[in-house]
Symmetry: C2
Subunit: 463 residues, 2 copies
C-alpha cells in the first residue's frame, strides 16, 4: 500500500467546500492548506453551479467534479454527507487520485456498516487507500493539514521525527499535537484514523518504517479490526524503530464505552498487553508515559542493552527516589569498587571529599562545584560497565555556575553513551533545560520521567 | 509540644552570621528575613568582637550571645559548626527561647549520634523543641524563611493552605516549593526535617491539625525513628485533615541508599503501605500524585463517600481513557435510566440529539454548543446518585464560546457537589483554566490527574 500521497501530496482536492458556510470542515481545510502548506490545493463542490467563486476570503476556481481539474491529483479530502461519499470516492478512483481522507461521519460508528463497506470496495477496485471515515485525517507539516479545527483553537507541533497515530481524533489533537508541541517535540506526521475502514495501524507502521524522517511511532489504540491486531504486532516486530502503544479501553467498562463510540472491538487487555510485550511493542501506561517516550525517542540516543546505569545527584533525597523508580522500571545500578571510589574521591574538591557518598547513586552533596560534577560525570561515563548516566540536577546551590548545563553537555559529548537529565521544571531553570536540549540530551520534568526515558532506551531493543 | 514559635515567630535570632562571608547560610537567612519577612530578626556571632557591624549590605547590631538581646526571642536559627551547637542550644534554653532550627550538619548523618543526643537532652531540659539538625528548616510565609539558598536560585510558593513536610531538604525545595509554586498552590508551611532528632512528622501533624490556615498535609518520608512510625499513623488517624505521604525508599536497594544519606531506617514498604491504608493515610505514588493531591486538597471541596461519579465529555476517546483510570482508581460510573436519557436528549440541541452518547461517560460530541454543556452538567449534578462530575473540556470546537468556563462554573456553583475538570494544559487554554480555578474548581493537566484528584476526594474520608 503506497501512502506517500497521503502525507506528502503535491496536489490536493478538497471536496465539499461550501460557498456560504466559512466554518464548513472542507472550507477550513481548504483555507488552511491554501495559506500555509506546500500542497497545491483545489476546491470542489458537486453542487456548485459556477466555476469561480469567493469563499473564506479567497477567490478561487471551484470545480464541480474532480475530473474537471487538469492534471493529476495526489490526495482527495472528502467532507460531504455520508451517503454521497461512495460515488465521490469512485470518481476519485476513476480519475487516478492516489489517496483520500474521508472526514465525513455517518458510517459504521452509527451502524451504517454497509455504506462503509462500499468505500472499501471502491478503494480496492481503484487501488485508492483512504483514511477514515469519521476522522480528522492527517497533519503532516509542511505538506498538508486536513484537520478541520481552526488554527485559533488548536496548537500544532513543528516538523520533527515522531509519528503519532490515534484512533481518537480528540486525543490526537490534544496529546499528539498540543502536548507534543508544548514539550517542543516535533512530528513527522499525526494521523486520526477514525473508523479505519481501509488504512489502519499496521499499514502505517509500514509507511513510517520506510519514512526516513521518522524515528519512532506512537499509537493510541482502542481496538483492532478482526485479524488486524496480529498484523500490527508482526509489523511492529519487524520495525527497526520503536513502536509505542497507549492502549485505551483496558477496563471492562471502558470496552463498553469503546464500542458505543467507535465501531471497533477491544479485546481482553491482559492478553493484549502480553502479546505487545512478546512482539517488542512498548506500552505507554498513561499520558505522561507517552510524553516521556516521545521525548526520549525524538533524541535518537543509543539503546542500552542491560539497563546498567549510574545516578549522579547532589540531593540524597532525589537519589533515593530515582532508585525506587529504577527498581520499578527494571534498571540496575552499577556499583563502584572500593579502589574506584578512592580514585574518584581524590579527584573531588577537598570540601566534599569527606561527605560525598560514592555508592551509586553518587551524591556529591549541596557543597559540590561545577568541577565536581564534571569530574564525576566523566568518571562514570568512562567506566565500561556503565551504559548510561542519569543526572539529577538541583540548581539551587550557590556553589554551581549558570554554565553548569553546557559544561556537563560537553563532558557527555565525549562518550557514545546516553545521558538523561532531571531538572526541576520551572521558568527559572529553563536556561539549564535549554543547554542540555541543545546538546541533544533529554530533560525530564520529574525524576520519574527521567527514569522512564531511560527505561525507554532499554525497551527499545528488539529481541 | 508547642510549635507556634517555629512557624510564626515574632522575634528571631540567627546565630552564626559571618562578618566576612556573605554567602554563609546564617547570612543568607538573616538577610532574607530582614528584607522580606515579618519576624524581627537579630544577628548573633559568638566570635564577634564588636556589637555593631555591616554584613550583606545591612548595618545592624551583631550580638555575641543570645543573652545580650533585650526581650524574648521566639526562635533561634543555628548555623555554626556541629561541635558548638549543644552549648549554643543550651544558652538558648537558658534565655527562654521557645524553639530552634538547627541548620548545621555533622551529626547522626555522619555517625555523630552522641553529639546529636546532646541536643535532644538540652531540648528536653529546657522544653525547647528544635527542627534538624542537618536541615533547611522552615518556610512559613509571610513570617519566616530559614532556607539558606538564595532567592535567585529557588522558587517560592505564596501563602496558602497546604503544609509540606519533607525528610529531604532538596525534595522540599524542588517539590514542596518549586513545583507547588509552578502550579500556583500556596503553602501554610514547608518544613525540611533533616535528621529529625527532636521534632518529627508526628509532632507536625499535631501542629498543622490545630493550625487553622492548613487544609491538608503532605509528607515526604524515607523512614521513621524507632517507635515514631506508630505515633505518626495514630496522629494521622485522629486528624480531620487529609494526611498524604510520599514514601521514598520503597525498594530494597533504595533503603540502602537511605541509610547511607540519613540516619533513619526504612522498614519493609509493603508492610508500611498497608499500615498507612489502615490508618487512613493517603499515599502518593509519584511526583505527579503529590501535585494532584495538593491541588485538590487546596480547594476545600466536599468529600465523596461512595465514589459515584459522572463523566461529561465531547471526545469519546477521552471518555474511554477517563473510564480506564476510574476503574483503576476505584471510582464508579453512575448509569442513567432510559427515561433519564430520553429527558436529557430532548433538552439537547437538535444537531447533536441523534449522535450524543448518553451512556456514562456522556459524550456530547464535537458538534455540541455551550448550552449543551450547561444542560448536561446541570442534569448530572441534579441527579441524586451522582456525587461529583468529571468534566473533560476539549476546547477545540468552533461551536463553543470562550466563555464556556465561566458558564459551566456558574452551573457548578448551584450545587454542593465537587466538579473536577480536565483542560489540555497549554498557554492557549489558560483562560479556561483560570475561569474554573477562579470559581474554586480544580483543573487537571491530564485526564489521569483529574481522575486522581477525584479519587483524593474519596480517600479523604476517614473511617
Amino acid at each position: 500500500m503506497e501512502l506517500k500521497s497521503l502525507f506528502k501530496p503535491e496536489r490536493t482536492a478538497v471536496i465539499g467546500v461550501s460557498l456560504n458556510n466559512p466554518l464548513h470542515p472542507a472550507n477550513v481545510i481548504y483555507s488552511k492548506n491554501f495559506k500555509e502548506y506546500t500542497t497545491e490545493v483545489h476546491a470542489v463542490n458537486p453542487a456548485a453551479d459556477r466555476n469561480a467563486a469567493s469563499f473564506n476570503g479567497i477567490t478561487a476556481r471551484i470545480y464541480r467534479q474532480i475530473g474537471d481539474i487538469t492534471g493529476d491529483i495526489d490526495l482527495a479530502v472528502i467532507a460531504v454527507k455520508a451517503g454521497r461519499v461512495p460515488s465521490i470516492l469512485k470518481e476519485c478512483g476513476e480519475h487516478g487520485v492516489k489517496g483520500a481522507v474521508v472526514i465525513s461521519g455517518g458510517f459504521a460508528e452509527i451502524g451504517n456498516r454497509e455504506l462503509q463497506q462500499q468505500l472499501v470496495e471502491v478503494a480496492n477496485k481503484y487501488d485508492l487507500p483512504f483514511i477514515g471515515p469519521n476522522c480528522l485525517g492527517i497533519y503532516s507539516p509542511p505538506y498538508i493539514d486536513t484537520i478541520f479545527l481552526s488554527n485559533a483553537r488548536i496548537v500544532k507541533p513543528e516538523r520533527g521525527n515522531i509519528a503519532f497515530i490515534s484512533q481518537s481524533g480528540g486525543f490526537m489533537v490534544d496529546q499528539g499535537m498540543g502536548k507534543l508541541a508544548g514539550e517542543e517535540i516535533g512530528v513527522s506526521g499525526c494521523v486520526s484514523l477514525g473508523n479505519k475502514a481501509f488504512v489502519d495501524e499496521a499499514n502505517l507502521i509500514e509507511y513510517f518504517e520506510s519514512d526516513e524522517s521518522t524515528s519512532a511511532m506512537i499509537f493510541h489504540i482502542e481496538g483492532f479490526s478482526p485479524g488486524r491486531g496480529r498484523k500490527f504486532v508482526e509489523q511492529a516486530e519487524k520495525s527497526r524503530k520503536p513502536v509505542v502503544v497507549f492502549k485505551a479501553g483496558r477496563s471492562e467498562i471502558a470496552r463498553k464505552a469503546v464500542s458505543s463510540h467507535t465501531a471497533s472491538l477491544s479485546g481482553n487487555y491482559v492478553v493484549t498487553s502480553s502479546i505487545f510485550k512478546q512482539y517488542g511493542v512498548i506500552e505507554a501506561r498513561d499520558e505522561f508515559d507517552i510524553i516521556a517516550l516521545a521525548k526520549v525517542f525524538s533524541h535518537n540516543l543509543k539503546s542500552i542493552a542491560r539497563g546498567d546505569i549510574a545516578i549522579l545527584t547532589v540531593s540524597g533525597g532525589h537519589g533515593v527516589i530515582a532508585v525506587d523508580f529504577c527498581q520499578e522500571y527494571d534498571l540496575n545500578l552499577v556499583q563502584l569498587s572500593e579502589a574506584e571510589k578512592q580514585i574518584l574521591r581524590e579527584k573531588l574538591n577537598p570540601a566534599i571529599r569527606p561527605i560525598a557518598s560514592l555508592e551509586n547513586p553518587i551524591d556529591l552533596t549541596g557543597s559540590s562545584s561545577d568541577t565536581d560534577y564534571e569530574t564525576a560525570l566523566n568518571f562514570l561515563l568512562e567506566k565500561k560497565e556503565v551504559e548510561a548516566v542519569l543526572l539529577l540536577m538541583l540548581p539551587y546551590q550557590e556553589s554551581i555556575s549558570f554554565e553548569i548545563g553546557s559544561k556537563l553537555a560537553k563532558v557527555a559529548k565525549r562518550y557514545d553513551k546516553p545521558v538523561i537529565v532531571y531538572v526541576p521544571w520551572n521558568r527559572r531553570y529553563l536556561h539549564l533545560v535549554n543547554d542540555f536540549e541543545k546538546a541533544g540530551i533529554p530533560v525530564g520534568h520529574t525524576v520519574e520521567e527521567a527514569v522512564k526515558m531511560m527505561r525507554g532506551l532499554k525497551r527499545r531493543n528488539k529481541k
